[in-house]
Each structure stands twice: as structure tokens, then as C-alpha cells.
């Protein structure tokens, strides 16, 4: 098993801060056969497998990137049509489809809602690494929801690269609750003036789960905006690294960037590291970040328990209420229910 250094931050800091990257043993599957268990729901878009192998600006790591470019066993390219549409892609991991190396490319020339779900229908160990690229052309409204419901034996590595042109509005919602180890890299290249990017994430860690989130937004266009909101909960011996970078590039005048990460610790063995970075070479901008960590609010807990609800249920309620403002933005009601059910089970 190879030990890889993954998810490098765009700017390094001291090595003993243990945050520049994550070192993990990664077992890359030898035999890669086609991943057959994939459902695509859409009405109008043009779909093929002519995805780009252009090098990622950041990504999780070169070894995994090369693996995807050379050995992807599922490739989906979507070019949206002139009418607004909803597209759903579901990857069902099962006994015959244990390893997924995928590429998804979405060229949004018009408004679209895209949902990508990774689910396990097996308790066996699975492997997923993939690259998602989205390009939002001028004036497009694009909503992308990625849901990780993989089993607790599975390693999940996903790199996302997002490009925004003028007046585009891209909302990403990432529900990262599954997997044994889940490493994600999100890079947003906000080129266009007045482009707006909102990224909302929920993570949930239990047992010995590891979450490594590396979010990078570069603002180049004037009056552009990035808003990152990350809400998480760690139980047992789970560990989370959150690295969030907002980089105001010279020329992005009147741009704004906000970043908030909040981690609720439900165990005294859980570990949370956060590195919220603001990089700035433009004077005329506004950047804010905030992070917080702590246990469940005792006053809230007391209030709920005073109404006859057990400690466990009260904690669940508090966690779910915190997540709910993000889950509410998921536009598929069936999926919303599925996510809530999954959170409920994982909090047991």
C-alpha cells in the first residue's frame, strides 16, 4: 500500500503545524473494469464521454490525477441545452462495482441543476477517486449538489474544478457524510465580473473517519463574490482537517469573500484542525473568515431535555438543526429525506 501526500494547501506553513497536506496509505485497485452501476436522469442535455484531460490547477495529488486521466472507468460529459434542466447522476457501489474512477465535465451554457450521488449497496470496501469539472458560462445559474453516502469501509477522493464567467451564479452543496476516509479538493476560478459562487458543505465524522477538505477560491473578476459555509460534527475518534483559502487576485476590485467553518465536537477524542486562509493582493476588497469549535451548547441541550427528550435525541436535534439550513437548499425532496435519514443513522 502506497503512502501518498495529498491535498496540498496553496501556501505552505510550518511543517509541525501538520496541515500542509495529509499523508495517507492509499490502496489503488489493480484491475479496473467498467463501472456499470450508474444511473443518469436527464431530459435534454447532450451527453458523451469526451472529457478533458487538462491538468488540474490544484487537485488532490498528481498520482491520483494521473490515475483518473489514464484509467477512468466512467466518463460523463454534459453540455446543457437552452432550456433549464435537472440532471441526476447516481453511482451505486455494489458487489460487482467496487471501484470507481470517474470524470464528470459539465459545460453549462444555460441554467441547470445537477445532483451527483455516491451510494453503497454493499458493505465491502470500495474505492472512489474522481474529477468533476464545471464551467458556468455568462449569465448562467448552475446548482451542483454532491452527496457522499458511501459505506464506512470506502476511501473517497474527489477533486472539483469550477470556472465562473461573467454574471454567472454557481451554487455548490457538498454533503460529505460517508466513507472511511474522504478527501476533497474544491477549486473555484472566478474569472468573470459579477460572478457569484456559493459553497455550502456538511461533514459528519464518526468512529475513526478522516475528513480532509481543501477549498480554494481565486477571485479575479471585478465585483465577484465567494461565500463558503462549512458546518460539521465530529464524534468518537473522527478527525477533520479543513483548509479554506480565499485568494483576492490583483484586479478583483470591489469583490467580497466570506468563509465560515463551524465544528461541533461530540467527543473528547475527536480532532479538528482548521486553516482558514485569506490571501490578498487587491486593496479594494472585503474579506472575512471565521472558525469556531466546541461542544454542543449546554443551554440548548438543557432546554430540549427539559421537554422530556433524551440526551442522545437532543444532541441529534441540535446537530440536524445546524445542518438543516444547508440541507434545505437541496432541491430534490426525496434526496433531502435520504440525507436526513442517513445523518440520523450515523448519529446513533
Amino acid at each position: 500500500m502506497e503512502k501518498l501526500k495529498l491535498n496540498n494547501t496553496p501556501v505552505r506553513t510550518a511543517r509541525n503545524f501538520a496541515i500542509n497536506n495529509i499523508e495517507l496509505p492509499v490502496e489503488i485497485p489493480n484491475k479496473i473494469k467498467n463501472f456499470e452501476s450508474v444511473e443518469i436522469t436527464n431530459s435534454k442535455s447532450n451527453i458523451d464521454n469526451e472529457v478533458s484531460n487538462k491538468e488540474l490547477t490544484y487537485g488532490i495529488g498528481k498520482i491520483l490525477e494521473e490515475l483518473v486521466f489514464k484509467n477512468a472507468n466512467n466518463k460523463i460529459r454534459i453540455q446543457t441545452t437552452k432550456q433549464k434542466e435537472d440532471i441526476k447522476i447516481i453511482y451505486n457501489f455494489d458487489e460487482n462495482n467496487l471501484n470507481l474512477i470517474n470524470q464528470i465535465e459539465i459545460l453549462a451554457e444555460n441554467d441547470a441543476n445537477i445532483i451527483i450521488i455516491y451510494k453503497s449497496k454493499t458493505s465491502k470496501q470500495c474505492f472512489h477517486t474522481g474529477i468533476i469539472r464545471t464551467i458556468a458560462k455568462e449569465n448562467v445559474q448552475l446548482n451542483v449538489t454532491i452527496v457522499n453516502l458511501l459505506n464506512e469501509e470506502t476511501n473517497n477522493f474527489e477533486a472539483i474544478e469550477n470556472t465562473l464567467y461573467q454574471n454567472s451564479n454557481v451554487k455548490y452543496t457538498i454533503i460529505d457524510i460517508g466513507g472511511k476516509t474522504s478527501v476533497s479538493n474544491y477549486y473555484s476560478n472566478i474569472i468573470g465580473n459579477n460572478a457569484n459562487n456559493v459553497l455550502k458543505t456538511i461533514y459528519l465524522g464518526k468512529d475513526k473517519q478522516i475528513k480532509d477538505l481543501n477549498y480554494i477560491a481565486e477571485l479575479r473578476g471585478e465585483k465577484s463574490n465567494i461565500d463558503i459555509d462549512v458546518q460539521g460534527d465530529l464524534n468518537d475518534e473522527a478527525k477533520k482537517n479543513f483548509k479554506g483559502t480565499i485568494d483576492f487576485k490583483r484586479g478583483c476590485k470591489k469583490s467580497k469573500g466570506n468563509e465560515n467553518e463551524s465544528c461541533m465536537l461530540l467527543s473528547n477524542r475527536a480532532k479538528s484542525i482548521a486553516l482558514p486562509m485569506l490571501l490578498c493582493t487587491e486593496e479594494d476588497v472585503e474579506g472575512n473568515h471565521s472558525t469556531s469549535s466546541g461542544k454542543v451548547d449546554e443551554k440548548q441541550l438543557f432546554y430540549i431535555m427539559a421537554r422530556g427528550i433524551s440526551y442522545k435525541e437532543a444532541v441529534k436535534l441540535i446537530v440536524k438543526s445546524k445542518f438543516n439550513k444547508i440541507i434545505e437548499t437541496v432541491q430534490d425532496s426525496e434526496l433531502k429525506e435520504e440525507i436526513l435519514k442517513e445523518i440520523d443513522e450515523r448519529l446513533n
Binding site: P276, C280, E283
Partner: protein, 464 residues
Amino acid sequence: MKTQVEDINRNIYDIKNKDDYEIKIQGLNREIVEEISRLKNEPDWMLEIRLKALKMYEELALPTWGPDLSELNMDDIATYVKPKSKLNSSWEDVPEDIKNTFDKLGIPEAEKKSLAGVGAQYDSEVVYHSMKEDLIKQGVIYTDMESAVRDYPEIVKKHFMKCVPISDHKFVALHAAVWSGGSFVYVPKGVKLDFPLQSYFRLNSPESGQFEHTLIIVDEGASLHFIEGCSAPKYNKVNLHAGCVELYVKDNAYLRYSTIENWSKNMMNLNTKKAIVGKNAQMDWVTGSFGSKVSMLYPMSILNGQGAKTEYTGITFAGGGQNLDTGFKVIHNAPNTSSVINSKSISKDGGACTYRSLVRINENAKNSRCSVSCESLMLDDKSRSDTIPVNDIKTDEVEFSHEAKIGKISDKTIFYLMSRGLSEEDAKAMIVRGFAYPISKELPVEYAVEMNNLINLELEGAIG
């Protein structure tokens, strides 16, 4: 709308005296380290530390993060300079040119205002020390490090390079190998000093390094405010400052350590400062970083005792050609500990400011609290301002919050002030002063003219 704040008037800091020295040693190898130790007539145990550190220096790599240090060539740096002066107990005995420099920097004036003790380090040797008699009566020891090694070997041996281990990083190892000068302070149990002790460092020799060591022990229930100031005249060659500050704040003790750094803009300021804080003790840092070409400076508090507290208040001002990478580190190692971090930075004329920090709350630090606030002000679009904070939380019984803001002077605020009759320039100057006020009010400006110059000249500098 553009904002301009003038550079600090460096005239008094850029005074160059004739590079007149008794001994000057260039480069770094075993023979040089042995020679420094021999010239200081040191005990063997200190030479052993030096040689061990030299080996460590050779093994350790340069940091792979932070500002570019490639201009630094150790072969060109003088590792030891001894000016033509011996340690004096009377100001009158200090050589005239050295005295003139310190006069211009305000040291004697500060002393006239009944400063208890002033230790001035000129190049590598401490040239002047004085202490009020009542301090001596109370058992306070304030002396130069060389004398401390000779006169208080047991205390020094127990504490020297123990708070900051020589393996910490390459420049700590370098420091331990060639250290020279610096201050030693011991405040006995229960002694509370109600006036600050002050030390001043100044580099005069071109291409020289300043490797002063400051060791302060504030014993149980005692209290001290220590002030250090640093400056150097401008030469074309790169200078190096790799000092080390080790602070021990014992149970129920209090230490405030204030620093004004105004090194000239050819200085690489790679200083290391660390404090170990005992039960119910408090360590406060007040830091103003204005000078140097490159700074990598992150004071650190290790809260080892239950109920220990620390507060960091810092301001960094980077002008053209400066890359000031500063911040703070705190380790919560015991229950009920708390820390408050408040950092401000201003960058202008192409200067780069980085706030870099570490907050680590360990498993055993139950019921600990930490609050971090950092604000950065950009005064033009040629400059750079980065915030790189790491927050490492290993327990649930904790309250931790971190906030950071970056931006320019608000047009609305300028408009508001102008509508009250202020000119645009005055309005901007007032905003910049207001931005720095929470920090500048903590700086001990009343104790030294130099510090007054730094804060006031800079922030009241013509804006327009």
C-alpha cells in the same frame, strides 16, 4: 480613493558609526564557535551546547514556507563583533560614538524617567547596564547573559535552551551556536516590579549578525514588565538577527514582554521567542513590528499550568520592499487555560504582511478558551496581505473562536468624518490611527522616545 501613509522617519535609526571593533569574526564553523566561547571565557558545558547546536544547524534545512531567505549567506555574516568597549556600569564610561547613538535613540532620557534598568546591546556585546539599588535589595537580578553564565551558572544551566530547544529550527540552532550578549533577569518569589525593565539592541557593523539571548525567570507570585527595542542602521549588505528569548513565568506570576522592532530594511529578522507559563500565571506579549526587510517572528506561549493565561497584542506595518511574516503560537496544555490573540497589520507601497499563527488545544486542556481576532488593512493595490492561521483543537470541552477581516479604508467612514468637517487627509489619518489604537495604547510609549517616534511619526505621517 487612494490612501498614502508616509514611511517612518528613519533618520535617527539610520545613524552609522564608524565600524570600529576590537574583534570581528566572520562565517561559521567549529573553530569559530570554539573561538567565540574562548573569547568569552565560558565554562565547558556552554561550549558543549554551542557545538551540539552547530551540528544541529548543519543538519537542519531552511524552512520550506514563508518569505524567501535565499539572500542570506552565512559565509558573509559576522557571527561575533566586539566593539571597542568593555561592559560599563556608568553611562559616562561608554565610548562617545556609541553613547551618541543611544542618546539619539532616547535611552538615557528613558532612564532619567526613572527606568529601573537599561541594558543596551551594541553589536554583540552588552555595553551598559544599570539598576536601581532598591531592585538589588529585593533580590532582582538584571545583568548581561555573559555575566549570568559566570555568576549564576546553576540557574542558567537549568533554563538555557530548555524552553526553546536547539532542534526547534535552523536559526535557533544557529543562535545557540554563536549567541552573544543579551539580558538575564530573575525576579524572586513575590517581588512585584511596578516599573519596567528595558533593554535595547542595536546593530552597527555591516553584514553582522546579532544573536543575543534573553532569559527571564519570574518566580512564583512575582511580576515584571520587560521592554526590548531593536534597531540597526542601513547598509547595503544583508544583516541577520537571530536572537532567542526564553521566558519562564512560574505559578501565579505575571510577565508582560513588550517589543518594538524597527530594524533597518536590509535586516533578516529571524527571531525566536517562547514562554512557559505556570499555574494561574499570566504572560502578555505586546509587539510592534515596523522594520526589517524580512521578518519571521512568532512569539509562543506554552500554557502548562492549570488556569494559565496569555494575551498577544501585535501590530505589523510593512512598507515597500518589506516582507513581514509575523504572528503568534499558543499551546494549551492544562485545564482552564485561556488565550486572547489580537493582531493588526497594515501594508503599503508594495509591502507584504502575513499573519501566521497556531492555536493548539491539547486533550488535557479541558474548559479552555481561546479567542482570535486579526485585521488587515491594505493601503494600496501594490501591497499584499495574507492571513494563515492554524487552529488545532483536540478536545470537546473548549470554546474556540477565530475571526479575521481584510480590506481597505471604508469610503463610507471617510465620507462620515468629512461631513463633520475633517479634510479627507485628516479623516484617513484618523482612521489609520483608530485602526492601530487598540495595539498602540498597549505599547509603553511613555518609557522611550524611540517608541513614541515609531507610533506617532508613522500613524500621524502625512496622508493625502
